[in-house]
Each structure stands twice: as C-alpha cells, then as structure tokens.
C-alpha cells in the first residue's frame, strides 16, 4: 500500500497529462463535433495505455541516463516537483510541459544527491525540445500540400469527405494516442522504474514485467485524466485558440503523432540503425509544443500570415524557465522530505564501492 502512496505523485502527473495532452490529439475533432467526446476518450485511453506498455521503454531509458533516482521517496518527490511546476505554471498561464518539468526535477535530484548530470544526455534532450516543433511544422507543411493536391484531383463529395475525415480523425487520433503514451509515459513513471518493487507476472504464458506493470498503472492514470477532465480542455481547443478545418485538424494530428512516434519508437531506431541511417533520439517531448509546431506548419503553408511570433517566443522561454523552476522545487522539496519528514531520498553511498571506483591515478597522488 505504501508503494501506491509513493507512486501517487506519478499517477497525479499522469492524470494531469491525460487531462491536458489528450486535447492535443482529439481537441479539434471533439471541439468541432466531428467525433463524440466519449468515442474520443475511449479510443485515446485504450491507445495511450497500449503505447505506454508496448513502446514506453525507449524514452524512459533516456531519462534514466539523465539521472537514476535510486530511492522511492526521492522518485516520489521528483514526480511531485514536476507536477507542482506544471500545476503552478498552468495557473499562472505560462506555457509549460510535463517533459520539461520532469527533466528539471531529475536534475534537481542530481544536484541534491551530489551526482553528476550526464551533460550529453541533457544536451540531447534539450535539442529535441527545439527539434520536435520544428519537425512537426515541416511534417504538417508537406502534408498540407499533399492533402490539397489530393483533394484537387480526387473530387470527393463534401458529405463523403466528411465521413472520410471523421474516420481519419479517429484512426490518426488512435495513432497519436499510442505515440503519446509511448513518448510521454517516461515523464509519468520513468523516475520510478529503477525503484518500484514490482515482480514479473506470468499472464497466460506472456511475461508481464515490473516496468510494464508500472507503465500500465501510469497509462491508466492518463486514461482517468482523459475521462474525468479533458472534455473542457478539448472544447476550448476546438472552439477558440486556432480555427482549423476538420481536414487541417487531421493534418495537425497526423504530423503530431508522427513526431511523437519518431521520438519514442525503438523499432524505428533499430530499423534506422540496420540501414545505416541516422537515428532519432528517444526523448519525451512536449505534445503541446509539437501541436503548436504542426499548426505553425499549416500557417506557413497558408503564406505565413497571422502567425503570432510572440507565442513562439513564449514557448522558447518555457524551454529554459520550466526546467529551472522544476529543478529548484525538486531540490528544495527533497531537502524537506529528507530533513523534516525523515525519508531517505538518496541511496546511502556504499564506501567500499566508492573505494573500488577510485582510479589508480588518484591512488598514486593520494
């Protein structure tokens, strides 16, 4: 039972991810009444869970390289720090992403534990934050012209186009939800992977390991977030922020799903490696920023008019402020948890192992 208490911060993070990020996938479809909310919520929940359990390992591995939180109380506080950052920044109407918050929180733990942060991993992660919306813009830009060309030569009746678009929004939405689950489960459950004491289960001859169980729990938390809270967000996305036609909405969701998938798929990475092609780093990215990139691509395809560059500037500032705030909250709250609540948040250092790792060079010079 105690484990569930410790996991609660991650589950809360999952819930808020479901509440907010599902709207990036199904927002326009539901907001424009092309897809019913319950259909969208059902499809999104199923595929988020599938994506998390089947393909969530890749991005989790990258976060693990950034900082391996080694005590469950520490993991609890890291996830809580990220959740608090997301909560407060959302309240202050600042652009925020779970992915950036969790990275900051992990770095905060590294600082508190006195462990070095893998700068190569951090640079890789930060570069994908910039790369992901740019890539999404490129995808939607190209897809826009492809769809336009198709519609010009494939003269579809308006009613039939409506039916195709509805089916497309559900199918592409399912793909988007799968990719979201695969890409973002690391944010929710990544810090618990090394410390959660789940045993492997054998279900009908299929091995269901501890990490998969953890991801299933996280996926279910996201699903609960989708069902309980995403409806309002979806209606806002569909009604207000940006006016998209159902066809452009389909393009936006597809390019978003492709980007999230690219940054999460181990299968794709293996395939690229096998063909001597450059690989895409497996990093949790922000689906909100990816979706803004996709919409920007559509704006550019329309000639670039009406793009509000201030919004883009705000997002870019979030790349810096979110991790810093999360790191600070994480550091301070870890201090409190350790010294006020008397919880071990960092594994005590084993003296002998340190001794063994001291290099001969150090020995020589004392």
């Amino acid at each position: 039972m105690l484990i569930m208490l410790f996991l609660s911060s991650g589950l809360f993070l999952g819930w808020s991810l479901g509440a907010n990020d599902a709207s990036n996938i199904f927002g326009t479809a539901v907001g424009t009444r092309m897809v019913k909310f319950y259909t969208a919520a059902f499809v999104a929940s199923i595929f988020v869970v599938l994506g998390a359990v089947i393909s969530g390992a890749g991005t989790t591995h990258t976060l693990g390289k950034l900082g391996a939180v080694d005590m469950i109380a520490g993991a609890f506080m890291v996830a809580l720090a990220a959740a608090l950052t997301v909560f407060w920044m959302t309240r202050l109407s600042l652009p925020v992403s779970t992915s950036q918050a969790i990275v900051g929180a992990i770095v905060g733990w590294n600082l508190f534990a006195g462990k070095p942060t893998d700068m190569a991993a951090l640079t890789k992660i930060a570069s994908t934050w910039v790369m992901s919306p740019v890539l999404a813009a490129a995808f939607s830009f190209v897809l826009f012209f492809m769809v336009k060309y198709l519609m010009k030569y494939w003269k579809i009746h308006i009613f039939r186009l409506d039916a195709y678009t509805r089916i497309g929004l559900i199918v592409v939405g399912a793909f988007g939800a799968y990719s979201l689950g695969a890409n973002n489960i690391a944010n929710v459950m990544g810090v618990f992977v090394a410390v959660a004491p789940f045993e492997s289960l054998d279900i009908f001859g299929i091995d269901f390991n501890g990490v998969e169980q953890l991801f299933l729990l996280g996926g279910l938390a996201i699903a609960v977030g989708i069902f309980t809270y995403s409806r309002r967000v979806m209606m806002t996305v569909g009604d207000g922020v940006v006016k998209l036609t159902p066809q452009t909405a389909l393009i936006v969701v597809l390019s978003q799903a492709l980007v999230l998938f690219l940054f999460a798929s181990k299968g794709l990475e293996t395939w690229l490696l096998a063909h001597n092609l450059p690989t895409v780093p497996l990093v949790p990215v922000s689906s909100s920023q990816v979706v803004i990139g996709s919409i920007l691509g559509i704006g550019l395809a329309h000639g670039g008019g009406g793009i509000r560059f201030r919004v883009l500037g705000k997002i870019a500032s979030g790349w810096v402020t979110t991790p810093i705030i999360a790191a600070l909250i994480s550091f301070i709250s870890l201090f409190f948890l350790q010294n006020v609540f008397d919880q071990q948040v960092v594994k005590p250092v084993d003296q002998t192992s340190i001794h063994e790792t001291i290099s001969p060079e150090t020995h020589k010079h004392g």
Partner: protein
C-alpha cells in the same frame, strides 16, 4: 454503414439540384407557352412546377434534418443549409411567377412577347449556371468560380433586357397606364429569378473560400 448514409445523402442533394434545374426548364417553357397562347400546355407546366417545388421542399427538409440529427458536416452544415434555402427561393420564385400568370392572365401585346420569352430564357440561364456552381461546390470547390462569373453575367443581361422591356412598355401609346403597370410587374417578376440566383452565387463565393483547406 457510414458510407451508405453518406451515399444516400449525396443522392438526395443531387436530386434536389436536379429539381431546381428542371424547374428552370419548366419555367422557361411555361412562359413560352403563355406567350404563344397555348393555354393547355401552359397550365400543364404550372402544375409540373408546383409538383417540383413540393418535391424540392421535401428533399431540402429531409437533408437538413439528416445533417443536424446525425451531426454531419458540422463545419459547413450551416453554409449548406443557407445555400439550400436560398436556392429553394429560386424555385419558389419561378413557381409564384407562373402561378401569377395563371391567375392574373396579363394581356401581353404581340410586340412584347419576344421580349418576355428572351427575358425568361436569360434568367433561366443564370439559374442553370447557379446549379452547376452548387454541384461544383459539393464535389469540386476549385471549379466554382468558373460558374459564378457566368451567373453574374446572365443576371446583368437579364437586368438589361428587363430594363429595355419596361422602357418599351412605358413608351407604348397603345396601352393604358394600368396595363403598363401590370406588364411592368410581370417583367419585374420574370427578372427576379436571376436576382435570386445571384444571391446564391454571392453565398457560394464566400463558402467556397471557407471550404478550401
């Protein structure tokens, strides 16, 4: 299942546009019959256009109900609804005009008959191009412009012919003022059909921009 419903709706929309197009032909022939004093044929056309108007009304209501109860084409259904109602005005106008001819039996002097026939022919051309533009809007929005300018052309042409006809009527010294006013009223009504087609074209011009992705 979803495609069966869609196909059914497409067929109904095509049938609705067929009714408008057919009403144009009946209208033109009805006026011609009236001018040629073939009253049996004329009354047959009046009956025929009434029937077409009724059928178009039924189809329109049916399509509108289906669009709203099944939440189809949520982005454009308001536009489609407005288009159907405005184009329904065209068929209503055509029916009313033929019925007015039937009720009021205006006496048309021989020298104005060709003018009326020509006016009816031109206004119907505007409605025919309007129907083509509507069909293009449904399937091939990039082509709508090709028809819209023709609607505007025939509408202007109708105005010109109606203007000349009215001028000649009032210049005539064989008619009483009451007869002149009666004839002007009919010239006006025959011409109104093209104005209604222009209303549809105006809407189409905007809705086509909205429909492009």
């Amino acid at each position: 299942m979803i495609f069966k419903k869609t196909k059914n709706l497409e067929l109904k929309m095509d049938a609705f546009l067929d009714k408008i197009s057919e009403a144009g032909i009946v209208y033109r022939r009805g006026i011609k019959n009236y001018m040629k004093n073939t009253s049996d044929d004329f009354e047959r056309h009046v009956e025929q256009i009434r029937q077409l108007e009724h059928e178009a009304d039924e189809l329109r209501k049916n399509i509108e109900t289906q669009l709203y109860t099944q939440t189809l084409v949520p982005e454009s259904r308001g536009d489609i609804l407005a288009l159907m109602e405005t184009s329904d005005d065209v068929i209503d106008r055509a029916t009313d005009t033929l019925v007015e001819f039937s009720i009021e039996s205006p006496k048309i002097p021989e020298e104005f008959k060709d003018g009326f026939i020509e006016l009816a022919r031109t206004t119907v051309k505007a409605t025919e191009e309007m129907v083509k533009a509507m069909r293009a809007f449904m399937r091939d929005p990039l082509n709508v412009r090709n028809y819209l300018h023709k609607v505007y052309h025939w509408e202007k042409e109708s105005d010109r012919i109606a203007g000349e006809l009215k001028r000649e009527i009032f210049a005539s010294d064989k008619l009483e003022l009451s007869e002149k006013i009666h004839l002007r009223y009919f010239a006006l009504h025959v011409d109104t059909l093209a104005d209604r087609a222009e209303d549809v074209a105006d809407r189409l011009a905007i809705y086509t921009i909205k429909r492009s992705i």
